[in-house]
Symmetry: C2
Amino acid sequence: MPRDSSHIPAPLSPLPGATGVMCPGVMCPGVVAFAGSGPGDPDLLTLKVLKALQEADVILFDRLVSAEIMALAHDGAILENVGKEGFGPSMAQEDICARLVHHARKGRKVLRLKSGDPSLFGRLDEELTACETADVGTVILPGITAASAAVAAIGQSLTQRGRNSSVRFLTGHDMKGFADHDWAQLARPGEVAAVYMGKKSARFVQGRMLMHGADRATPVTVVENASRADQRVLATTLDQLPADLAAADFGGPALTFLGLAPRQHAAALPHLRDQTQMELA
Amino acid sequence: MPRDSSHIPAPLSPLPGATGVMCPGVMCPGVVAFAGSGPGDPDLLTLKVLKALQEADVILFDRLVSAEIMALAHDGAILENVGKEGFGPSMAQEDICARLVHHARKGRKVLRLKSGDPSLFGRLDEELTACETADVGTVILPGITAASAAVAAIGQSLTQRGRNSSVRFLTGHDMKGFADHDWAQLARPGEVAAVYMGKKSARFVQGRMLMHGADRATPVTVVENASRADQRVLATTLDQLPADLAAADFGGPALTFLGLAPRQHAAALPHLRDQTQMELA
Protein backbone atom coordinates (compact mmCIF):
# COMPACT_ATOMS: atom_id res chain seq x y z
CA MET A 1 0.00 0.00 0.00
CA PRO A 2 1.36 3.47 -0.79
CA ARG A 3 2.62 5.43 2.22
CA ASP A 4 0.32 7.92 3.94
CA SER A 5 2.23 11.11 3.45
CA SER A 6 -0.16 13.11 5.64
CA HIS A 7 1.51 11.59 8.64
CA ILE A 8 5.08 12.21 7.60
CA PRO A 9 6.38 15.29 9.42
CA ALA A 10 7.92 17.86 7.08
CA PRO A 11 11.55 18.49 8.08
CA LEU A 12 11.28 22.27 8.14
CA SER A 13 7.95 22.45 9.87
CA PRO A 14 6.34 19.73 11.99
CA LEU A 15 2.59 20.30 11.95
CA PRO A 16 -0.46 19.59 14.06
CA GLY A 17 -2.07 16.34 12.98
CA ALA A 18 1.29 15.11 11.79
CA THR A 19 2.91 14.77 15.21
CA GLY A 20 4.53 11.43 14.73
CA VAL A 21 1.29 9.43 14.88
CA MET A 22 1.77 6.53 12.50
CA CYS A 23 -1.25 4.39 11.62
CA PRO A 24 -1.34 1.42 9.25
CA GLY A 25 -4.13 3.05 7.21
CA VAL A 26 -5.31 6.55 6.44
CA MET A 27 -7.36 7.02 9.64
CA CYS A 28 -6.07 7.11 13.22
CA PRO A 29 -8.11 6.48 16.42
CA GLY A 30 -9.01 9.75 18.15
CA VAL A 31 -8.05 11.85 15.13
CA VAL A 32 -10.49 13.76 12.89
CA ALA A 33 -9.82 13.54 9.14
CA PHE A 34 -11.36 16.42 7.17
CA ALA A 35 -11.85 15.07 3.68
CA GLY A 36 -13.19 16.20 0.33
CA SER A 37 -15.55 13.86 -1.51
CA GLY A 38 -15.24 15.76 -4.79
CA PRO A 39 -18.26 17.14 -6.66
CA GLY A 40 -20.38 13.99 -6.74
CA ASP A 41 -19.14 11.33 -9.19
CA PRO A 42 -17.75 8.52 -6.97
CA ASP A 43 -15.00 8.02 -9.55
CA LEU A 44 -13.68 11.46 -8.61
CA LEU A 45 -12.91 10.31 -5.06
CA THR A 46 -9.21 10.03 -4.34
CA LEU A 47 -7.89 6.63 -3.30
CA LYS A 48 -7.04 8.15 0.07
CA VAL A 49 -10.58 9.34 0.74
CA LEU A 50 -11.97 5.99 -0.42
CA LYS A 51 -9.71 4.29 2.13
CA ALA A 52 -10.85 6.77 4.77
CA LEU A 53 -14.49 5.93 3.99
CA GLN A 54 -13.74 2.25 4.42
CA GLU A 55 -11.75 2.69 7.67
CA ALA A 56 -13.83 5.31 9.49
CA ASP A 57 -15.77 4.40 12.63
CA VAL A 58 -17.99 7.46 12.26
CA ILE A 59 -18.68 9.75 9.29
CA LEU A 60 -20.21 13.20 9.61
CA PHE A 61 -21.22 14.26 6.11
CA ASP A 62 -22.74 17.27 4.36
CA ARG A 63 -25.92 17.31 2.34
CA LEU A 64 -24.07 17.61 -0.97
CA VAL A 65 -22.05 14.42 -0.49
CA SER A 66 -23.74 12.02 -2.91
CA ALA A 67 -25.58 8.86 -1.82
CA GLU A 68 -23.38 6.81 -4.17
CA ILE A 69 -20.35 7.96 -2.21
CA MET A 70 -21.88 7.31 1.20
CA ALA A 71 -22.67 3.78 0.00
CA LEU A 72 -18.89 3.17 -0.03
CA ALA A 73 -18.60 3.54 3.76
CA HIS A 74 -18.06 0.28 5.62
CA ASP A 75 -21.14 -1.41 7.04
CA GLY A 76 -20.38 -0.83 10.70
CA ALA A 77 -19.75 2.91 10.43
CA ILE A 78 -21.92 5.41 12.28
CA LEU A 79 -23.28 7.85 9.66
CA GLU A 80 -24.35 11.33 10.78
CA ASN A 81 -25.91 13.67 8.21
CA VAL A 82 -25.04 17.12 9.52
CA GLY A 83 -26.61 18.76 6.42
CA LYS A 84 -24.82 22.06 6.88
CA GLU A 85 -25.40 23.27 3.33
CA GLY A 86 -28.58 24.17 1.51
CA PHE A 87 -32.09 24.81 2.66
CA GLY A 88 -33.09 21.71 4.64
CA PRO A 89 -32.80 21.34 8.39
CA SER A 90 -29.15 21.79 9.28
CA MET A 91 -27.09 21.26 12.39
CA ALA A 92 -25.58 24.38 13.96
CA GLN A 93 -21.83 24.76 13.40
CA GLU A 94 -21.13 24.50 17.13
CA ASP A 95 -23.07 21.25 17.32
CA ILE A 96 -21.03 19.78 14.46
CA CYS A 97 -17.84 20.80 16.26
CA ALA A 98 -19.10 19.19 19.48
CA ARG A 99 -19.92 15.94 17.65
CA LEU A 100 -16.44 15.77 16.12
CA VAL A 101 -14.78 16.21 19.50
CA HIS A 102 -17.18 13.79 21.18
CA HIS A 103 -16.42 10.99 18.75
CA ALA A 104 -12.67 11.63 18.73
CA ARG A 105 -12.54 11.49 22.54
CA LYS A 106 -14.15 8.05 22.38
CA GLY A 107 -11.07 6.98 20.43
CA ARG A 108 -12.99 6.62 17.16
CA LYS A 109 -11.63 7.15 13.66
CA VAL A 110 -13.65 10.21 12.72
CA LEU A 111 -14.21 11.23 9.10
CA ARG A 112 -15.65 14.69 8.42
CA LEU A 113 -16.69 14.46 4.78
CA LYS A 114 -17.40 17.63 2.82
CA SER A 115 -18.26 17.93 -0.85
CA GLY A 116 -15.56 19.22 -3.19
CA ASP A 117 -12.26 20.18 -1.55
CA PRO A 118 -12.51 21.07 2.16
CA SER A 119 -9.98 23.90 1.74
CA LEU A 120 -12.21 25.85 -0.67
CA PHE A 121 -15.35 27.44 0.83
CA GLY A 122 -15.62 24.48 3.20
CA ARG A 123 -15.87 26.39 6.50
CA LEU A 124 -13.03 24.21 7.63
CA ASP A 125 -11.43 26.59 10.09
CA GLU A 126 -14.16 26.64 12.73
CA GLU A 127 -14.02 22.86 12.94
CA LEU A 128 -10.22 22.71 12.98
CA THR A 129 -10.17 25.27 15.79
CA ALA A 130 -12.70 23.29 17.82
CA CYS A 131 -10.54 20.18 17.52
CA GLU A 132 -7.38 22.05 18.46
CA THR A 133 -9.06 23.62 21.46
CA ALA A 134 -10.07 20.14 22.60
CA ASP A 135 -6.57 18.80 21.90
CA VAL A 136 -7.93 16.49 19.19
CA GLY A 137 -5.55 15.76 16.30
CA THR A 138 -6.58 16.56 12.74
CA VAL A 139 -5.53 15.77 9.21
CA ILE A 140 -6.82 17.19 5.91
CA LEU A 141 -7.41 15.02 2.84
CA PRO A 142 -7.91 17.09 -0.30
CA GLY A 143 -10.67 16.49 -2.84
CA ILE A 144 -11.49 17.49 -6.41
CA THR A 145 -13.08 20.91 -6.27
CA ALA A 146 -16.20 21.68 -8.34
CA ALA A 147 -14.32 24.13 -10.58
CA SER A 148 -11.91 21.41 -11.76
CA ALA A 149 -14.72 19.02 -12.63
CA ALA A 150 -16.86 21.73 -14.22
CA VAL A 151 -14.08 23.08 -16.42
CA ALA A 152 -13.23 19.55 -17.53
CA ALA A 153 -16.89 19.05 -18.45
CA ILE A 154 -16.82 22.04 -20.80
CA GLY A 155 -13.51 20.99 -22.38
CA GLN A 156 -11.62 24.03 -21.16
CA SER A 157 -8.63 25.06 -19.06
CA LEU A 158 -8.85 27.42 -16.12
CA THR A 159 -5.64 29.04 -17.33
CA GLN A 160 -4.26 29.39 -20.84
CA ARG A 161 -1.09 30.92 -22.20
CA GLY A 162 -1.94 34.17 -23.97
CA ARG A 163 -5.40 34.41 -22.39
CA ASN A 164 -5.11 34.35 -18.60
CA SER A 165 -2.13 33.54 -16.41
CA SER A 166 -4.22 33.48 -13.25
CA VAL A 167 -7.65 32.36 -12.15
CA ARG A 168 -9.76 33.41 -9.16
CA PHE A 169 -11.99 31.17 -7.09
CA LEU A 170 -14.63 33.10 -5.18
CA THR A 171 -18.02 32.71 -3.61
CA GLY A 172 -21.16 34.50 -4.73
CA HIS A 173 -22.18 35.00 -1.11
CA ASP A 174 -19.33 37.38 -0.37
CA MET A 175 -19.01 39.35 -3.59
CA LYS A 176 -21.06 42.21 -2.18
CA GLY A 177 -18.05 43.07 -0.06
CA PHE A 178 -15.76 43.40 -3.08
CA ALA A 179 -13.68 46.54 -3.56
CA ASP A 180 -13.65 48.50 -6.82
CA HIS A 181 -10.35 47.07 -8.00
CA ASP A 182 -11.68 43.53 -7.58
CA TRP A 183 -14.45 44.38 -10.02
CA ALA A 184 -12.10 46.24 -12.35
CA GLN A 185 -9.95 43.15 -12.51
CA LEU A 186 -12.82 40.72 -13.08
CA ALA A 187 -14.12 43.01 -15.83
CA ARG A 188 -10.93 42.81 -17.91
CA PRO A 189 -10.91 40.90 -21.21
CA GLY A 190 -9.46 37.41 -20.83
CA GLU A 191 -9.92 37.29 -17.05
CA VAL A 192 -11.34 34.00 -15.75
CA ALA A 193 -13.07 33.42 -12.43
CA ALA A 194 -14.92 30.46 -10.93
CA VAL A 195 -17.82 31.57 -8.75
CA TYR A 196 -19.11 29.07 -6.19
CA MET A 197 -22.72 29.42 -5.07
CA GLY A 198 -23.23 32.28 -7.52
CA LYS A 199 -26.85 31.77 -8.64
CA LYS A 200 -28.45 34.34 -6.35
CA SER A 201 -25.76 36.93 -6.97
CA ALA A 202 -25.87 36.67 -10.77
CA ARG A 203 -27.72 39.94 -11.37
CA PHE A 204 -25.56 41.82 -8.86
CA VAL A 205 -22.37 40.48 -10.46
CA GLN A 206 -23.62 41.43 -13.92
CA GLY A 207 -24.34 44.98 -12.77
CA ARG A 208 -20.98 45.52 -11.11
CA MET A 209 -18.99 44.03 -13.97
CA LEU A 210 -20.78 46.18 -16.56
CA MET A 211 -20.28 49.25 -14.35
CA HIS A 212 -16.54 48.50 -14.40
CA GLY A 213 -16.38 48.25 -18.15
CA ALA A 214 -16.87 44.54 -18.87
CA ASP A 215 -17.98 43.65 -22.38
CA ARG A 216 -21.64 42.55 -22.49
CA ALA A 217 -20.51 39.68 -24.76
CA THR A 218 -18.16 38.29 -22.07
CA PRO A 219 -18.77 34.53 -22.08
CA VAL A 220 -20.32 33.08 -18.94
CA THR A 221 -20.90 29.36 -18.35
CA VAL A 222 -22.92 27.85 -15.53
CA VAL A 223 -22.44 24.15 -14.73
CA GLU A 224 -25.09 22.57 -12.51
CA ASN A 225 -24.37 19.29 -10.70
CA ALA A 226 -20.82 19.08 -12.10
CA SER A 227 -19.66 15.49 -12.69
CA ARG A 228 -23.06 13.98 -11.75
CA ALA A 229 -25.40 12.09 -14.07
CA ASP A 230 -27.77 15.08 -14.05
CA GLN A 231 -25.07 17.61 -14.94
CA ARG A 232 -26.28 20.50 -17.10
CA VAL A 233 -24.30 23.23 -18.83
CA LEU A 234 -25.63 26.70 -19.62
CA ALA A 235 -23.52 28.72 -22.05
CA THR A 236 -24.45 32.39 -22.08
CA THR A 237 -23.02 35.89 -21.96
CA LEU A 238 -22.73 38.48 -19.21
CA ASP A 239 -25.56 40.36 -20.94
CA GLN A 240 -27.97 37.42 -20.85
CA LEU A 241 -26.82 35.72 -17.65
CA PRO A 242 -29.72 36.65 -15.34
CA ALA A 243 -32.40 35.87 -17.95
CA ASP A 244 -30.84 32.60 -19.10
CA LEU A 245 -30.16 31.49 -15.54
CA ALA A 246 -33.80 32.12 -14.60
CA ALA A 247 -34.96 30.20 -17.67
CA ALA A 248 -32.68 27.24 -16.89
CA ASP A 249 -34.13 27.01 -13.35
CA PHE A 250 -31.16 25.17 -11.84
CA GLY A 251 -32.06 23.51 -8.55
CA GLY A 252 -28.71 21.81 -7.86
CA PRO A 253 -25.36 23.29 -6.88
CA ALA A 254 -23.96 25.45 -9.66
CA LEU A 255 -20.52 26.68 -10.59
CA THR A 256 -20.34 29.85 -12.67
CA PHE A 257 -17.38 30.65 -14.91
CA LEU A 258 -16.93 34.31 -15.74
CA GLY A 259 -14.88 34.74 -18.91
CA LEU A 260 -15.09 31.14 -20.11
CA ALA A 261 -17.28 29.49 -22.76
CA PRO A 262 -17.55 25.75 -23.44
CA ARG A 263 -14.84 24.81 -25.88
CA GLN A 264 -16.97 24.40 -29.00
CA HIS A 265 -18.40 27.86 -28.36
CA ALA A 266 -15.08 29.55 -27.78
CA ALA A 267 -14.24 29.62 -31.47
CA ALA A 268 -17.61 31.08 -32.43
CA LEU A 269 -18.34 33.78 -29.89
CA PRO A 270 -20.29 36.12 -32.20
CA HIS A 271 -22.87 33.36 -32.61
CA LEU A 272 -22.88 32.38 -28.96
CA ARG A 273 -26.23 33.90 -28.19
CA ASP A 274 -28.12 32.11 -30.97
CA GLN A 275 -26.59 28.81 -30.08
CA THR A 276 -27.49 29.19 -26.43
CA GLN A 277 -31.06 30.02 -27.29
CA MET A 278 -31.31 26.91 -29.41
CA GLU A 279 -30.03 24.79 -26.58
CA LEU A 280 -32.46 26.31 -24.11
CA ALA A 281 -35.36 25.92 -26.50
CA MET B 1 -18.99 0.04 -11.29
CA PRO B 2 -19.99 3.72 -11.01
CA ARG B 3 -21.09 5.35 -14.23
CA ASP B 4 -18.56 7.34 -16.26
CA SER B 5 -20.21 10.74 -16.27
CA SER B 6 -17.64 12.20 -18.66
CA HIS B 7 -19.44 10.46 -21.46
CA ILE B 8 -22.94 11.52 -20.55
CA PRO B 9 -23.93 14.44 -22.78
CA ALA B 10 -25.24 17.42 -20.83
CA PRO B 11 -28.79 18.27 -21.96
CA LEU B 12 -28.13 21.97 -22.53
CA SER B 13 -24.80 21.60 -24.24
CA PRO B 14 -23.46 18.44 -25.92
CA LEU B 15 -19.69 18.65 -25.91
CA PRO B 16 -16.72 17.40 -27.91
CA GLY B 17 -15.41 14.18 -26.39
CA ALA B 18 -18.88 13.44 -25.08
CA THR B 19 -20.53 12.84 -28.42
CA GLY B 20 -22.47 9.78 -27.52
CA VAL B 21 -19.45 7.46 -27.39
CA MET B 22 -20.18 4.96 -24.64
CA CYS B 23 -17.37 2.70 -23.44
CA PRO B 24 -17.53 0.09 -20.71
CA GLY B 25 -14.61 1.74 -18.88
CA VAL B 26 -13.10 5.18 -18.61
CA MET B 27 -11.03 5.02 -21.81
CA CYS B 28 -12.33 4.72 -25.39
CA PRO B 29 -10.37 3.49 -28.44
CA GLY B 30 -9.18 6.37 -30.60
CA VAL B 31 -9.92 8.96 -27.91
CA VAL B 32 -7.31 10.92 -25.94
CA ALA B 33 -7.96 11.29 -22.19
CA PHE B 34 -6.15 14.25 -20.64
CA ALA B 35 -5.78 13.35 -16.98
CA GLY B 36 -4.31 14.81 -13.81
CA SER B 37 -2.17 12.52 -11.65
CA GLY B 38 -2.28 14.88 -8.66
CA PRO B 39 0.88 16.22 -7.00
CA GLY B 40 2.70 12.92 -6.47
CA ASP B 41 1.23 10.76 -3.69
CA PRO B 42 -0.42 7.82 -5.51
CA ASP B 43 -3.20 7.93 -2.89
CA LEU B 44 -4.21 11.33 -4.30
CA LEU B 45 -5.10 9.76 -7.66
CA THR B 46 -8.81 9.73 -8.36
CA LEU B 47 -10.46 6.36 -8.93
CA LYS B 48 -11.18 7.49 -12.48
CA VAL B 49 -7.55 8.22 -13.29
CA LEU B 50 -6.46 4.95 -11.67
CA LYS B 51 -8.91 3.14 -13.99
CA ALA B 52 -7.55 5.11 -16.93
CA LEU B 53 -4.00 4.05 -16.02
CA GLN B 54 -5.10 0.43 -15.97
CA GLU B 55 -7.05 0.61 -19.24
CA ALA B 56 -4.74 2.75 -21.38
CA ASP B 57 -2.92 1.22 -24.36
CA VAL B 58 -0.43 4.09 -24.40
CA ILE B 59 0.48 6.69 -21.76
CA LEU B 60 2.33 9.92 -22.55
CA PHE B 61 3.47 11.34 -19.21
CA ASP B 62 5.26 14.40 -17.89
CA ARG B 63 8.45 14.40 -15.86
CA LEU B 64 6.66 15.35 -12.65
CA VAL B 65 4.33 12.32 -12.69
CA SER B 66 5.82 10.13 -9.96
CA ALA B 67 7.35 6.70 -10.60
CA GLU B 68 4.99 5.21 -8.00
CA ILE B 69 2.05 6.36 -10.12
CA MET B 70 3.50 5.11 -13.40
CA ALA B 71 3.96 1.71 -11.71
CA LEU B 72 0.14 1.47 -11.62
CA ALA B 73 -0.12 1.34 -15.43
CA HIS B 74 -0.99 -2.08 -16.84
CA ASP B 75 1.91 -4.23 -17.98
CA GLY B 76 1.20 -4.11 -21.69
CA ALA B 77 0.91 -0.32 -21.95
CA ILE B 78 3.30 1.69 -24.11
CA LEU B 79 4.89 4.34 -21.83
CA GLU B 80 6.28 7.51 -23.40
CA ASN B 81 8.06 10.03 -21.19
CA VAL B 82 7.52 13.34 -22.96
CA GLY B 83 9.27 15.22 -20.11
CA LYS B 84 7.79 18.57 -21.00
CA GLU B 85 8.50 20.17 -17.63
CA GLY B 86 11.78 20.98 -15.95
CA PHE B 87 15.34 21.10 -17.14
CA GLY B 88 16.02 17.72 -18.70
CA PRO B 89 15.64 16.85 -22.38
CA SER B 90 12.05 17.55 -23.32
CA MET B 91 9.93 16.82 -26.35
CA ALA B 92 8.71 19.82 -28.34
CA GLN B 93 5.02 20.62 -27.88
CA GLU B 94 4.26 19.93 -31.54
CA ASP B 95 5.89 16.51 -31.27
CA ILE B 96 3.73 15.65 -28.26
CA CYS B 97 0.65 16.71 -30.20
CA ALA B 98 1.73 14.57 -33.15
CA ARG B 99 2.26 11.54 -30.88
CA LEU B 100 -1.23 11.92 -29.39
CA VAL B 101 -2.85 12.03 -32.81
CA HIS B 102 -0.68 9.19 -34.11
CA HIS B 103 -1.69 6.83 -31.32
CA ALA B 104 -5.37 7.81 -31.43
CA ARG B 105 -5.53 7.16 -35.18
CA LYS B 106 -4.22 3.66 -34.52
CA GLY B 107 -7.40 3.15 -32.47
CA ARG B 108 -5.51 3.04 -29.18
CA LYS B 109 -6.79 4.17 -25.79
CA VAL B 110 -4.48 7.14 -25.27
CA LEU B 111 -3.83 8.60 -21.81
CA ARG B 112 -2.06 11.98 -21.62
CA LEU B 113 -1.02 12.15 -17.97
CA LYS B 114 -0.01 15.48 -16.45
CA SER B 115 0.90 16.19 -12.84
CA GLY B 116 -1.64 18.04 -10.72
CA ASP B 117 -4.85 19.08 -12.50
CA PRO B 118 -4.56 19.43 -16.30
CA SER B 119 -6.79 22.51 -16.29
CA LEU B 120 -4.37 24.56 -14.16
CA PHE B 121 -1.11 25.63 -15.83
CA GLY B 122 -1.14 22.36 -17.77
CA ARG B 123 -0.73 23.77 -21.28
CA LEU B 124 -3.77 21.72 -22.14
CA ASP B 125 -5.14 23.91 -24.91
CA GLU B 126 -2.42 23.32 -27.51
CA GLU B 127 -2.93 19.57 -27.22
CA LEU B 128 -6.73 19.78 -27.27
CA THR B 129 -6.56 21.92 -30.39
CA ALA B 130 -4.25 19.46 -32.12
CA CYS B 131 -6.68 16.62 -31.40
CA GLU B 132 -9.65 18.65 -32.61
CA THR B 133 -7.86 19.63 -35.79
CA ALA B 134 -7.18 15.93 -36.45
CA ASP B 135 -10.78 15.04 -35.59
CA VAL B 136 -9.64 13.00 -32.58
CA GLY B 137 -12.07 12.89 -29.63
CA THR B 138 -10.93 14.07 -26.20
CA VAL B 139 -12.04 13.89 -22.61
CA ILE B 140 -10.60 15.61 -19.52
CA LEU B 141 -10.19 13.82 -16.18
CA PRO B 142 -9.49 16.26 -13.33
CA GLY B 143 -6.78 15.75 -10.73
CA ILE B 144 -5.84 17.16 -7.32
CA THR B 145 -3.92 20.36 -7.93
CA ALA B 146 -0.75 21.11 -5.96
CA ALA B 147 -2.37 24.01 -4.08
CA SER B 148 -5.01 21.72 -2.55
CA ALA B 149 -2.43 19.22 -1.35
CA ALA B 150 -0.03 21.90 -0.13
CA VAL B 151 -2.66 23.80 1.85
CA ALA B 152 -3.84 20.54 3.44
CA ALA B 153 -0.23 19.85 4.44
CA ILE B 154 0.00 23.14 6.35
CA GLY B 155 -3.38 22.62 8.05
CA GLN B 156 -4.98 25.63 6.40
CA SER B 157 -7.89 26.63 4.15
CA LEU B 158 -7.47 28.52 0.92
CA THR B 159 -10.51 30.59 1.88
CA GLN B 160 -11.81 31.54 5.32
CA ARG B 161 -14.81 33.53 6.45
CA GLY B 162 -13.66 36.92 7.74
CA ARG B 163 -10.21 36.63 6.15
CA ASN B 164 -10.52 36.06 2.40
CA SER B 165 -13.58 35.22 0.34
CA SER B 166 -11.53 34.55 -2.77
CA VAL B 167 -8.22 32.98 -3.68
CA ARG B 168 -6.05 33.39 -6.78
CA PHE B 169 -4.05 30.70 -8.52
CA LEU B 170 -1.25 32.09 -10.65
CA THR B 171 2.09 31.18 -12.14
CA GLY B 172 5.37 32.81 -11.24
CA HIS B 173 6.42 32.71 -14.89
CA ASP B 174 3.81 35.22 -15.96
CA MET B 175 3.68 37.65 -13.03
CA LYS B 176 5.98 40.09 -14.83
CA GLY B 177 3.03 40.91 -17.07
CA PHE B 178 0.80 41.87 -14.14
CA ALA B 179 -0.97 45.21 -14.11
CA ASP B 180 -0.80 47.61 -11.17
CA HIS B 181 -4.19 46.67 -9.82
CA ASP B 182 -3.21 42.99 -9.72
CA TRP B 183 -0.35 43.90 -7.40
CA ALA B 184 -2.51 46.28 -5.38
CA GLN B 185 -4.92 43.45 -4.81
CA LEU B 186 -2.30 40.87 -3.89
CA ALA B 187 -0.77 43.39 -1.45
CA ARG B 188 -3.96 43.77 0.59
CA PRO B 189 -4.10 42.34 4.13
CA GLY B 190 -5.89 38.98 4.22
CA GLU B 191 -5.46 38.30 0.50
CA VAL B 192 -4.38 34.74 -0.32
CA ALA B 193 -2.73 33.55 -3.53
CA ALA B 194 -1.18 30.26 -4.59
CA VAL B 195 1.80 30.78 -6.89
CA TYR B 196 2.84 27.84 -9.07
CA MET B 197 6.48 27.70 -10.20
CA GLY B 198 7.26 30.80 -8.14
CA LYS B 199 10.82 30.12 -6.97
CA LYS B 200 12.64 32.17 -9.58
CA SER B 201 10.20 35.09 -9.33
CA ALA B 202 10.31 35.35 -5.51
CA ARG B 203 12.46 38.50 -5.37
CA PHE B 204 10.48 40.20 -8.12
CA VAL B 205 7.19 39.38 -6.38
CA GLN B 206 8.51 40.68 -3.08
CA GLY B 207 9.57 43.97 -4.70
CA ARG B 208 6.26 44.58 -6.44
CA MET B 209 4.16 43.70 -3.41
CA LEU B 210 6.16 45.99 -1.13
CA MET B 211 5.93 48.75 -3.75
CA HIS B 212 2.14 48.38 -3.62
CA GLY B 213 1.99 48.66 0.14
CA ALA B 214 2.12 45.06 1.37
CA ASP B 215 3.19 44.55 4.98
CA ARG B 216 6.73 43.17 5.26
CA ALA B 217 5.36 40.73 7.88
CA THR B 218 2.86 39.22 5.40
CA PRO B 219 3.13 35.46 5.93
CA VAL B 220 4.50 33.44 3.02
CA THR B 221 4.74 29.64 2.95
CA VAL B 222 6.58 27.56 0.37
CA VAL B 223 5.77 23.85 0.08
CA GLU B 224 8.24 21.75 -1.89
CA ASN B 225 7.20 18.32 -3.23
CA ALA B 226 3.65 18.64 -1.84
CA SER B 227 2.18 15.28 -0.77
CA ARG B 228 5.40 13.35 -1.46
CA ALA B 229 7.60 11.59 1.09
CA ASP B 230 10.21 14.31 0.68
CA GLN B 231 7.76 17.18 1.20
CA ARG B 232 9.26 20.22 2.95
CA VAL B 233 7.56 23.33 4.28
CA LEU B 234 9.20 26.74 4.61
CA ALA B 235 7.31 29.27 6.71
CA THR B 236 8.58 32.80 6.24
CA THR B 237 7.48 36.39 5.64
CA LEU B 238 7.41 38.59 2.57
CA ASP B 239 10.41 40.41 4.04
CA GLN B 240 12.54 37.28 4.36
CA LEU B 241 11.22 35.28 1.41
CA PRO B 242 14.19 35.60 -0.98
CA ALA B 243 16.80 34.93 1.72
CA ASP B 244 14.95 32.02 3.30
CA LEU B 245 14.15 30.48 -0.08
CA ALA B 246 17.81 30.65 -1.08
CA ALA B 247 18.81 29.05 2.24
CA ALA B 248 16.25 26.25 1.86
CA ASP B 249 17.66 25.41 -1.60
CA PHE B 250 14.53 23.66 -2.86
CA GLY B 251 15.24 21.50 -5.89
CA GLY B 252 11.74 20.04 -6.35
CA PRO B 253 8.54 21.65 -7.57
CA ALA B 254 7.36 24.28 -5.11
CA LEU B 255 4.04 25.95 -4.38
CA THR B 256 4.18 29.38 -2.75
CA PHE B 257 1.32 30.75 -0.66
CA LEU B 258 1.22 34.52 -0.35
CA GLY B 259 -0.76 35.58 2.74
CA LEU B 260 -0.87 32.18 4.40
CA ALA B 261 1.17 30.70 7.28
CA PRO B 262 1.10 27.09 8.47
CA ARG B 263 -1.67 26.74 11.00
CA GLN B 264 0.41 26.63 14.18
CA HIS B 265 2.16 29.81 13.06
CA ALA B 266 -0.98 31.70 12.21
CA ALA B 267 -1.82 32.33 15.85
CA ALA B 268 1.65 33.64 16.65
CA LEU B 269 2.64 35.87 13.75
CA PRO B 270 4.84 38.32 15.71
CA HIS B 271 7.15 35.41 16.54
CA LEU B 272 7.04 33.93 13.07
CA ARG B 273 10.51 35.04 12.08
CA ASP B 274 12.24 33.52 15.12
CA GLN B 275 10.41 30.28 14.69
CA THR B 276 11.31 30.06 11.03
CA GLN B 277 14.95 30.69 11.77
CA MET B 278 14.95 27.87 14.29
CA GLU B 279 13.46 25.51 11.78
CA LEU B 280 15.98 26.43 9.13
CA ALA B 281 18.90 26.10 11.56
